[in-house]
């Protein structure tokens, strides 16, 4: 990190406070504050955890393939299924959504970056710290075993005496900080950083869905934060929040958890809904049907999602009035989702469908989520749910909506935006293998679980006895899970071979899909500065309207090629925010604090010092004078130094004490 930056501003950077230069190699990735690199970091990390969570799933399915399985003991099984859930929810789906949000949202609103680039980097590094911290519990032999839902008092210190649940509490608290910071950042970004002419109702539906998700995170993360602190205080300081002997009510945990937990599931699904709202119109050659309905139904889902949480608690003893009320509210929430399904179908209807892999995955989402949504509607009928709850019927439901809905949507996004991020296409041929293996394996695994559940197979249990008739479908499901694994393997092979092939081929060129939204204005892969010039937006699907217009007969005709419309990425005079290593340093403090709280408070001290030092360093880090010299490495677009982002001045922390 050389300090050749020259500042026109008074004062000089001292040693550690010098901003690093952008460059290449691992230092570039550690210090990056570029939303695109951060998006890639989120995506790669999430896919690594996908492998971890997938392995956990395969172990479970091996254990359950036969009755009285002996692959995993009961204790180990509890840890595996707990970590599988935690990993998939918090370390796979959420960061994958963050990957897409980080990479694409600024582009879709025509901005050069998010409002607070260093905070953005901090979110990623804190997420990584939390995810690694939680998984360290495996290595230390004490992974949490209370389920991802961690019901008290089972997770209190009497019944969970090990450190597993402490890892749970601290890991989630750390990851919650990441989500909260990211939510605040993206909300300000959407409100304040839109390109000229882009009103809120000209934003793509994907941007809207991401925005709703950020609001859900903003308001839901504090609730689980409260729950986690209460559990931590019970476990570590003898508090009495969930101790029935002292008169406490363990149901309080369930309520607080699910007040977070239900908005959480909309946090999981809305990004995918956003993704396919871009994919489907592109490959139907038609605009999205009912844009205002798509936006408002997303907002409605976000709002109504706060009023349904106790449908997770129908048999917990909350009483018939509460059960009836939440049963009704749950039925209502099916409506806005149904609106979306109908709008996607109406988009496809009469369109010229192109069956690309991205489109196949989008079809997968619409169909699989419908199945999952329908089983959800059956849960909303409380008397029926009394039969279904705690059985594999529920497991079937949420895998249909999360895997069939969220994950397939994310894969649609991979295939669609891969050229934008990496400059080459993924193989469509391998992609079809990827899709069909995943789809078939998925339905083989989770379809039969509806039957198993209604036949009475309990969930959250390490084995089942022979003679109940569960054997056939469990074996079937376990085979299916390995087919899913094959499908995922196809994806990995696709990624690797497509990258290799791309080295010998010309770059993909602009707009390979003939798409609709602003991110496609830039060349592929996106240059570091995003847009050469900011785009003046006059309509929804602005990019499309630059390429197509209606002739005098009202027919849509092409008026410009992609090459004519797209920018060439050659701008050299663009200021970019400087990289920084303080987000990384700050995040590194958290695991120390976590270990200290678990093992011995002395370990907290280096952690606290790292965090304080990083905050201090962050505040005093120079932001370069806006009229100062621009980066003089005009040829190397990835090496802008001496840059300034207006939003970075005066600090992303409220107590900025700016250096002279």
């Amino acid at each position: 990190m050389s300090d050749t930056i020259e500042l026109a501003a008074p004062g000089r950077p001292l040693g550690a406070y010098t901003r690093p230069k952008g460059g290449s190699g691992w230092r570039d990735w550690i210090t990056t504050i570029d939303h695109k690199k951060i998006g890639i970091l989120y995506g790669a990390t999430a896919m690594f955890f996908f492998g971890v969570g997938g392995l956990e799933a395969l172990l479970m399915r091996l254990q359950l393939a036969t009755p009285d399985g002996t692959v995993l003991g009961a204790d180990t099984y509890n840890r595996v299924f707990t970590m599988h859930g935690l990993t998939m929810v918090f370390m796979v789906i959420m960061p994958l959504a963050a990957a897409f949000a980080n990479y694409l949202l600024p582009l879709q609103i025509g901005a050069r970056d998010v409002a607070f680039p260093r905070l953005n980097a901090l979110s990623y590094w804190v997420f990584l710290a939390g995810g690694l911290f939680l998984n360290m519990s495996w290595l230390l032999g004490d992974a949490p075993d209370g389920g991802w839902f961690a019901y008290a008092p089972n997770t209190g210190v009497i019944f969970s005496p090990g450190h597993g649940m402490d890892y749970y509490v601290l890991g989630l608290l750390i990851m919650g900080i990441a989500s909260l910071i990211s939510a605040m950042n993206l909300i300000v970004t959407v409100l304040n950083m839109r390109t000229p002419g882009m009103t809120l109702f000209k934003m793509p539906v994907m941007t809207w869905m991401i925005l709703v998700v950020q609001f859900l995170l903003l308001f839901a993360v504090p609730v689980i934060t409260v729950a986690l602190f209460l559990l931590m205080f019970d476990r570590n300081f003898g508090a009495n929040f969930f101790n029935p002997e002292m008169g406490a009510d363990p149901l309080l945990w369930q309520h607080l958890f699910w007040i977070f937990g239900h908005p959480e599931v909309y946090i999981l699904i809305l990004p995918s809904f956003g993704i396919i709202s871009e994919v489907i119109p592109t490959f139907s050659r038609k605009p999205l049907f009912g844009y205002p309905f798509m936006v408002f139904s997303g907002i409605a889902i976000g709002f109504m999602g706060w009023g349904v949480w106790a449908h997770h608690m129908f048999v917990s003893g909350i009483g018939p009035i509460s059960v009836a009320a939440f049963s009704m509210s749950t039925m209502f929430i099916a409506v806005p989702t149904g609106v979306k399904i109908l709008n996607w179908l109406a988009t496809m209807w009469g369109g010229k469908i192109k069956f690309t892999v991205a489109m196949l995955f989008a079809f997968g989402v619409v169909s699989m989520f419908t199945i999952g949504g329908l089983s959800g509607v059956t849960h909303s009928v409380a008397p029926a749910d009394t039969q279904q709850t705690d059985t594999y019927y529920i497991v079937a439901h949420f895998h249909y909506v999360i895997f069939g809905g969220s994950l397939l949507g994310i894969f649609a996004g991979f295939y669609f935006w891969w050229p934008k991020v990496f400059g080459h296409l993924l193989s469509e041929k391998l992609g079809k293998w990827n899709f069909w293996l995943m789809l078939i394996g998925f339905n083989m695994t989770f379809g039969p679980m509806h039957i198993l559940g209604l036949q009475g197979m309990s969930r959250r249990i390490d084995s089942y006895s022979p003679g109940f008739g569960f054997e056939f479908w469990n074996m079937f499901a376990s085979i299916g899970s390995f087919i899913i694994a094959l499908g995922v393997l196809m994806f990995v092979i696709n990624v690797i071979t497509s990258a290799r092939r791309a080295r010998h081929e010309p770059p993909v060129g602009p707009d390979p899909w003939d798409a609709r939204s602003l991110e496609w204005f830039t060349p592929n892969p996106t240059p570091v500065h995003n847009f050469d010039e900011l785009i003046q937006v006059d309509s929804l699907d602005e990019f499309w309207h630059r390429k197509y217009a209606e002739d005098e007969n009202g027919r849509v005709v092409r008026v410009a090629t992609a090459e004519e419309v797209c920018q060439d990425g050659s701008a050299t005079d663009v200021h970019l925010p400087s990289p920084s290593y303080w987000p990384f340093v700050l995040a590194a403090g958290f695991p120390f604090v976590g270990f200290g709280l678990i093992y011995t408070l002395w370990i907290c001290i280096p952690g606290a010092l790292l965090i304080l030092m990083a905050i201090y360093g962050w505040i005093f880090e120079p932001t370069d004078d806006p009229d100062g010299p621009h980066g003089h490495h005009a040829e190397d677009s990835s090496d802008h130094d001496g840059a300034e982002a207006p939003s970075e001045v005066a600090g992303e922390t409220a107590e900025e004490a700016p250096v002279g």
Binding site: R112, A115, F116, A183, M184, N185, V188, L191, N192, M193, R194, P196, M198, L218, F219, A220, V221, P222, V223, T225, V226, A227, F229, L230, F233, D234, F237, G238, A239, N240, F241, N243, M246, G247, A248, D249, L252, L256, D532, E533, L534, A571, D573, V574, H575, P626, H630, E644, P646, S647, A650, G651, E652, A654, E655, E656, A657, P658, V659, G660
Partner: protein, 201 residues
């Protein structure tokens, strides 16, 4: 091309609102859910005092009234410090910042005194669900106040170093928003926890 730089640099934002100030308001919105959870937990547990003191037995309303008043007045000094800086009056900006920090510290001192008194009277952290909920809620609030005091002192230091100028008054405004929010939470706590009649044993 030059226009790109000009548009890029414009501190203009889509809504015309400052990024930093908007960020603080967004954050305060989320804090409502945090304190709401802690307050609800307290309300659910206030009647569950096991064998320990009940809230009605132990609260000292006159004492807490004084410390509530102190915190309320600190909001006044906070806004006066901002107003001074917006006028370019650096000296009074410092005076009122210091006053705010002192009043905040006095409030914390009052909290500490109150807690130690309760402890002596048999209300510990682990005594009952009521006690755990009470100390957790007021503890979280106290930590927020303390962090606010740290920010105020940081602002004072910046002021003495000459970097807290009239142009940077928004920084004081943003710290002020946080401070007022913490005060507003106490307005809520004081009424709902202390003044509204509590169970007695």
């Amino acid at each position: 091309m030059a226009d790109a730089a000009a548009v890029d640099h414009g501190h203009g934002t889509g809504t015309g609102l400052s990024n930093n100030k908007l960020l603080m308001w967004v954050f305060l919105g989320s804090e409502c859910l945090l304190f709401g959870g802690l307050i609800s937990t307290y309300l659910i547990y206030r009647s569950r005092y096991a064998d320990g003191p009940a809230p009605g037995d132990i609260f000292d309303i006159p004492f807490t009234s004084v410390s509530s008043f102190v915190l309320l007045m600190s909001s006044l000094t906070m806004v006066l410090s901002l107003s001074a800086l917006q006028r370019g009056d650096i000296r009074n900006n410092r005076v009122w910042l210091l006053a705010t920090a002192l009043l905040g510290s006095l409030f914390i001192g009052g909290q500490v005194y109150e807690f130690t008194t309760f402890l002596r009277e048999g209300l510990g952290y682990t005594t009952s669900p009521f006690s755990s909920a009470f100390f957790t809620l007021t503890g979280f609030h106290g930590i927020h106040v303390s962090l606010g005091i740290v920010m105020l002192v940081s602002l004072l230091i910046a002021s003495f170093r000459g970097t807290l100028t009239k142009e940077r008054s928004e920084t004081v405004e943003i710290v002020g928003l946080y401070w007022h929010f913490v005060d507003v939470v106490w307005i809520f706590i004081f009424t709902v926890i202390y003044l509204v009649p509590s169970p007695t044993s």
